[in-house]
């Protein structure tokens, strides 16, 4: 892209990168909005809507001398195409000349708009897209003022066609631009949409069962240039002009997708500000303009009636409602009574500010263990050392680069990474996917590697020579290492092995190189930087303290063995969004605010610290957890409580080296991003929002700073060995599940699978089990769940794959030996 060419747009010359698209260049360099419907800057042009017609020519050069031929006035002679050309299908070249403001171009635009409107229902007053509709806007800008089409001649079609459970199609509004079809095909690789019929009968259909079967369906509603595609969540919910946009960050996974919460004061929420929809917010480093359906539709938990709304303290052995003053006094007394035997466990979606104030509270009491929950993914310290270099953009990976994905199912764990790495493979990156079983990412891989469950680190150290060579010799290499099928020790060994590989091949300390890990939750890396570790959690489990503070961590829902050691804790102080099994055991259960109700920051898997802003009215008397910890500290005489999240962050910047320079003001910085999507220019990229909340700041790795890195000795752990008749039961991630922060999104329920276990066909045959049979899975001699069997080759022989958070009962967090019996 470094080569430049000169093009002339409306008589002005511009120097633009060779090989780029004319529509993009006209917009970026000339601020010339060539109108488009079908073209989208993230997809290949198809030239079908014909809205972008321009006059196009080339400067005439003498064939022999190569000199520019001049006309009688001494101006370069231009050879014009006889017909108008679609700008979207043009790659810029030296000497390209276009005109966008002539009568012929104006007429062509007017004609295309007129044609589009002939069959369009013009039901803008009741259309969800009204107010933010490219067709509406381009009609105002370029269309004829009146229609020559008889209203009775309009074609009438179905207006409420469910393409799936989440997306509805209004066939009348569709203008057949194929953006949705192309998005699913080109960008996602789930080509579940297609055109049916032809001519004016051309319609979007879904060809999957269930319909529109993909984790990215919501994005099609953003790029739809009309109101044809709407979400089941937002349709008929509000008008766009009533909404206030609040920048936020997806609380569900390590991608840290930038989102915009569209809120309005709503009757359904007692007149308070309420999230009406979740929209993508452009951050080309993180999620570009895409979000997963979990990000988009997983906001209902913030307003769930099941939320904990009032502080509860134990009085006479019974949890009883209290005022915050009472609760604070109660907890302070308990903390004092613990005699310094205090520890804390924080969940992986706990914001940085809460983690910091919690740490300060514990340290103020003389110090104690700070555990990260869930204790399944090790190696955050290694990511801090040799993680992907500062400035990394997965969107830059392509030809000559390589990616190794090992021991993770990214589709289920971090769908945005899966989406972006799939596209890296499309651009020519060498993609290797290693796992004990086939995962979705295999479909996009150049090579796949299989190993036995528990042997990931071993596999990492003993890669096939040809594969290892290609990885080592790649210009850029990223390793994404997860923890599927591993114990915490196994996870550490894998992370170490991966780090060693990167160090040995020199792929650290620079952008687009290094280690990534799909830590659960939105702030897995934040836990590390604030001093919380899974290893500390294991110590807490082995040596329970007198008093344990549990913040946003549903220990008993996540781990069936937790009750054993939790019972040994004298006093549990629980802070959570929901009353759960832990708060039932607690001496005090304190209601805290979700990400939507407060300011805060998360540190994503790429170590980017990103701000989210207060958007929604609070539930009951819930407070941000940092405020609770801060008040407790003050009550304990540890100094004044902080009054704002920004003040907490200021303190973090002064105390945590990695966060130096991360004041809120810095995190809120934005820059012009290419392509220029968002803002008012809906026609171009869709309704993804312009980033006004900040692009965040990426923490430098030790390698970035040129510091020495230390990986430590790799200890390959023993993995559990099943005996005859037993299987390894492997917990795996399932994106759509029944976790407390997703279950309240009722509209997704039809898409959440019934609890199931995947069994290898050989094992199934031996046990006489068929797909659909109910089976009992017994784990570690004591945990039993009854689920449906899926016999489909999804599990390797000797292993049973049990997706997490589908059953009502807690199942083990890591692999165990178990047995399966037909019920």
């Amino acid at each position: 892209m470094s080569d430049k060419v000169k093009i002339i747009i409306d008589d002005i010359e511009y120097e633009v990168p060779a090989g780029s698209n004319l529509v993009d260049m006209a917009k970026w360099y000339a601020d010339n909005d060539i109108p488009v419907f079908c073209y989208h800057p993230k997809m290949e042009p198809v030239g079908m809507c014909r809205m972008c017609l321009v006059e196009q020519g080339s400067i005439v050069k003498d064939r022999e001398t190569g000199e520019v031929v001049l006309d009688e006035n001494g101006n370069p002679q231009v050879r014009w195409f006889p017909k108008l050309q679609t700008a979207c299908t043009q790659i810029v070249h030296d000497g390209m000349v276009i005109r966008t403001n002539t009568e012929a171009v104006k007429a062509a635009r007017e004609n295309v708009v007129e044609f589009l409107l002939t069959s369009h229902p013009l039901d803008c007053p009741i259309c969800d897209k009204g107010g933010e509709c490219p067709l509406q806007n381009l009609t105002m800008a370029h269309g004829p003022g009146t229609s020559r089409m008889n209203y009775d001649d309009k074609m009438h079609l179905d207006k409420h066609v469910p393409l799936g459970d989440l997306i509805f199609l209004d066939e009348e509004r569709c203008i057949q631009c194929a953006r949705c079809i192309r998005f699913q095909d080109e960008i996602v690789g789930d080509d579940v949409l297609a055109f049916h019929e032809r001519g004016r009968k051309l319609q979007i259909i879904t060809n999957s069962d269930p319909g529109f079967d993909t984790y990215f369906s919501g994005n099609t509603t953003d790029i739809c240039p009309v109101g044809a595609l709407t979400t089941a969540d937002f349709r008929f919910g509000a008008r766009p002009w009533e909404l206030t946009e609040v920048p936020s960050i997806c609380p569900h996974d390590a991608a840290g997708s930038n989102i915009s919460l569209s809120v309005r004061l709503d009757r359904d929420f007692g007149g308070r500000a309420m999230i009406k929809r979740v929209m993508p917010r452009q951050n080309e480093y993180v999620n570009e303009i895409w979000i997963s359906d979990k990000t988009r539709f997983g906001h209902h938990f913030t307003r769930s009636e099941d939320r904990l709304k009032k502080p509860m303290i134990k009085k006479g052995g019974v949890l009883t409602e209290a005022t915050w003053d009472e609760a604070i006094r109660f907890v302070v007394d308990a903390l004092k009574a613990a005699d310094g035997s205090v520890a804390a466990i924080a969940g992986s979606s706990t914001p940085n500010e809460d983690l910091w104030t919690l740490r300060k509270l514990v340290e103020g009491l003389g110090g104690g263990l700070l555990g990260a929950w869930t204790p399944t993914h090790a190696g955050a310290d290694l990511v801090a050392q040799v993680g992907v270099g500062k400035g990394t953009n997965l969107g830059d990976l392509g030809q000559g680069d390589a990616v190794l994905i090992i021991a993770t199912d990214l589709e289920e764990e971090v769908p945005i990474w899966r989406l972006r790495l799939k596209q890296a493979a499309d651009r020519g990156a060498y993609l290797v996917v290693a796992n004990a079983r086939k995962t979705r990412m295999d479909d996009f891989a150049s090579d796949t590697v299989r190993y036995d469950y528990g042997q990931a680190a071993h596999a990492m150290q003993n890669l096939d020579a040809a594969i290892a060579k290609k990885l080592k010799e790649a210009n850029n290499l990223i390793i994404v290492a997860g923890a599927e099928g591993l114990t915490l020790d196994g996870s550490r060994a894998l992370m170490q092995a991966a780090a060693n590989f990167l160090i040995e091949s020199g792929h650290i300390g620079k952008p687009n190189n290094g280690l990534l890990s799909p830590f659960p939750g939105a702030n897995g890396m934040g836990l590390h930087y604030m001093g919380f570790s899974p290893e500390a959690t294991l110590q807490i489990m082995q040596n329970p303290p007198k008093l344990l503070i549990v913040n946003q961590a549903e220990l008993l829902a996540d781990d069936p063995f937790a009750a054993e050691w939790l019972n040994k804790v004298e006093t549990i102080i629980s802070l959570n969004l929901f009353p759960d099994a832990v708060s039932n055991m607690a001496a005090a259960a304190l209601p805290i605010q979700s990400f939507a109700e407060r300011d805060g920051t998360f540190t994503n898997g790429e170590r980017r610290v990103q701000r989210f802003y207060m958007a929604q009215g609070p539930m009951g008397e819930a407070l941000p957890a940092w405020q609770v910890f801060s008040q407790l500290s003050e009550a304990l005489g540890q100094g004044h409580a902080k009054l704002s999240a920004a003040a907490v962050m200021k303190e973090i910047t002064e105390n945590v080296e990695a966060f130096a320079g991360m004041r809120y003001k810095e995190l809120a910085r934005v820059e012009r991003q290419f392509p220029d999507v968002g803002g008012e220019d809906l026609y171009y990229g869709g309704t993804a929002y312009q980033n006004k909340g900040g692009l965040g700041v990426q923490i430098e790795t030790s390698a970035d700073k040129g510091e020495a890195v230390s990986v430590g000795e790799v200890k390959l752990p023993d993995s559990p060995k099943p005996k005859k008749g037993q299987v390894l039961v492997v917990p795996v991630a399932q994106l759509f599940n029944r976790q407390s922060t997703f279950k309240p999104s009722v509209l997704v329920h039809p898409r959440v699978p019934q609890p199931y276990v995947e069994i290898n066909s050989k094992d199934a045959a031996r046990m006489n089990i068929k797909t659909g049979d109910l089976v009992e899975v017994m784990m570690a001699d004591q945990i039993r769940v009854t689920v449906q069997a899926h016999v489909n080759g999804g599990a390797p022989e000797g292993a049973a794959v049990l997706p997490r958070y589908l059953t009502d009962e807690a199942t083990p967090m890591v692999l165990t030996v178990g047995e399966i019996k037909k019920v």
């Binding site: 198809v46 809205m51 299908t89 004609n111 002939t118 001649d153 055109f195 001519g199």
Partner: protein, 423 residues
């Protein structure tokens, strides 16, 4: 003179043995002894033009193929979907080996790895028969591995479409052949270029009749071929005559040798029931209609002569309309065809055909106004020159040309002022 319809002179030439006995595959064997580039140059020199409708010089098309690419294809367009065209069917039914031989010569010329014959779905029986003929050629060593010891291998396959006019358009045809939705592709890249052809490989797409001309050219040389026809329209052309004639059918003549009048009255038996001829569609529904004036009737049938009269020879699917035909009705019929066949990809064609049909229906119901005629004329004009493929232009022709030549047929429906004849 029959270069193509040799079955008229040689019964059963469809059979491999008979074809071979009458010099069949000799041209191919001769070509195999020539350098591929010389084959291309010979076809170039013959000035053979594509018989599918566009009339593009065949040899030039072949010369666009980059020789450096290892995989290349020849695709035979046997979709024969233009209204009123039924010549390719007759070739494939009665003289199939000449097509196969022509396709193999083309394949040799561009060093293709395979030939795909894309037939419209209704031609399933022809496809079955072609499969047998291809097998006969294979048994004789003309198809398959190491053809006639040349060291070059080429397969020939037939493929059935699923019934869409648009799949006669070469890029839509390629999509359909790949199993995709039959919609035209953005060009460039053109089919001959890397990235533009079948499975993105450089591809020559030729009409059946075009390729059936090739053996003659190679066998007898370009000079001999150029003696037939006119300078710009070399060779013979098959004219498919249908509509109001006593003797409809295919007629092969050297181009320029006869006029419309001779074709219609001397060979197609004239107009039934002593009626007068009113109009001619020289290229089915897609070419502009012309009134059957003496000037038109005496026009020699060549690419260049028809162009002078604002119409095209196209695939020479000549439909004759007699005096009983209401041209407004004819325009409506043609519009309904294009509305049905528009693939829907480009806005002007998809929406324009639908809109035109609605207004024409209104006019034919007697509910139209004089301004409606202006409206459809304007809609059609707005569809021209702004679509990915030529269907947008084709769909406008039935309106623009009928209104231009037969305004009174429209005015009679809308109560407008009749115009003097010849206006």
């Amino acid at each position: 003179m029959n270069i193509i319809f040799r079955e008229k002179d040689i019964p059963n030439i469809r059979e491999f043995d008979v074809y071979v006995k009458h010099d069949g595959y000799k041209a191919f064997e001769k070509a195999l002894r020539m350098k591929p580039i010389d084959v291309i140059n010979e076809v170039k020199a013959s000035n053979l033009r594509g018989r599918g409708g566009a009339g593009f010089p065949t040899g030039v098309k072949w010369s666009f193929i980059p020789q450096s690419e290892p995989i290349k294809y020849v695709v035979v367009n046997a979709d024969e979907s233009e209204t009123g065209t039924f010549k390719d069917r007759q070739i494939m039914e009665n003289n199939p080996h000449q097509l196969i031989e022509g396709a193999l010569i083309a394949a040799w010329a561009i060093q293709a790895t395979a030939v795909y014959i894309y037939l419209r779905g209704e031609f399933w029986d022809i496809a079955h028969a072609l499969d047998k003929h291809i097998e006969d050629a294979r048994q004789a060593g003309y198809v398959g591995e190491n053809i006639k010891g040349s060291g070059w291998s080429c397969e020939v396959y037939t493929h059935l479409g699923a019934g869409a006019y648009i799949c006669g358009e070469e890029s839509a045809l390629l999509n359909s052949l790949e199993g995709k939705l039959g919609q035209p592709r953005v060009r460039p890249p053109f089919p001959a270029q890397k990235g533009g052809g079948l499975y993105s490989e450089p591809t020559v797409v030729n009409n059946v009749e075009t390729l059936a001309n090739v053996p003659f050219i190679i066998m007898n040389g370009a000079d001999e071929y150029k003696k037939i026809g006119t300078e710009q329209s070399t060779g013979t052309k098959i004219f498919c005559v249908s509509g109001h004639v006593n003797n409809p059918g295919n007629f092969e003549f050297p181009m320029g040798e006869i006029t419309f009048r001779q074709l219609i009255f001397d060979h197609a038996g004239g107009i039934p029931d002593g009626k007068q001829i009113k109009a001619i569609l020289p290229s089915g529904g897609s070419g502009p209609i012309v009134p059957a004036t003496d000037e038109i009737l005496d026009t020699p049938l060549t690419y260049e002569d028809l162009q002078k009269h604002g119409t095209i020879l196209g695939s020479a699917s000549i439909i004759i309309l007699d005096e009983t035909v209401d041209i407004t009705w004819a325009a409506s019929k043609m519009t309904k065809f294009f509305k049905h066949e528009s693939c829907g990809k480009c806005t002007p064609c998809r929406e324009g055909t639908y809109w035109l049909d609605k207004v024409l229906d209104r006019i034919l119901r007697g509910e139209g106004k004089p301004s409606d005629v202006d409206l459809i004329n304007n809609i059609a004009a707005n569809m021209q020159g702004v679509t990915l493929c030529a269907l947008g232009d084709f769909a406008a022709n039935p309106i623009l040309a009928t209104i231009k030549h037969f305004p009174n047929d429209f005015m009679a429906h809308v109560g407008g002022e009749l115009k003097a004849a010849g206006d």
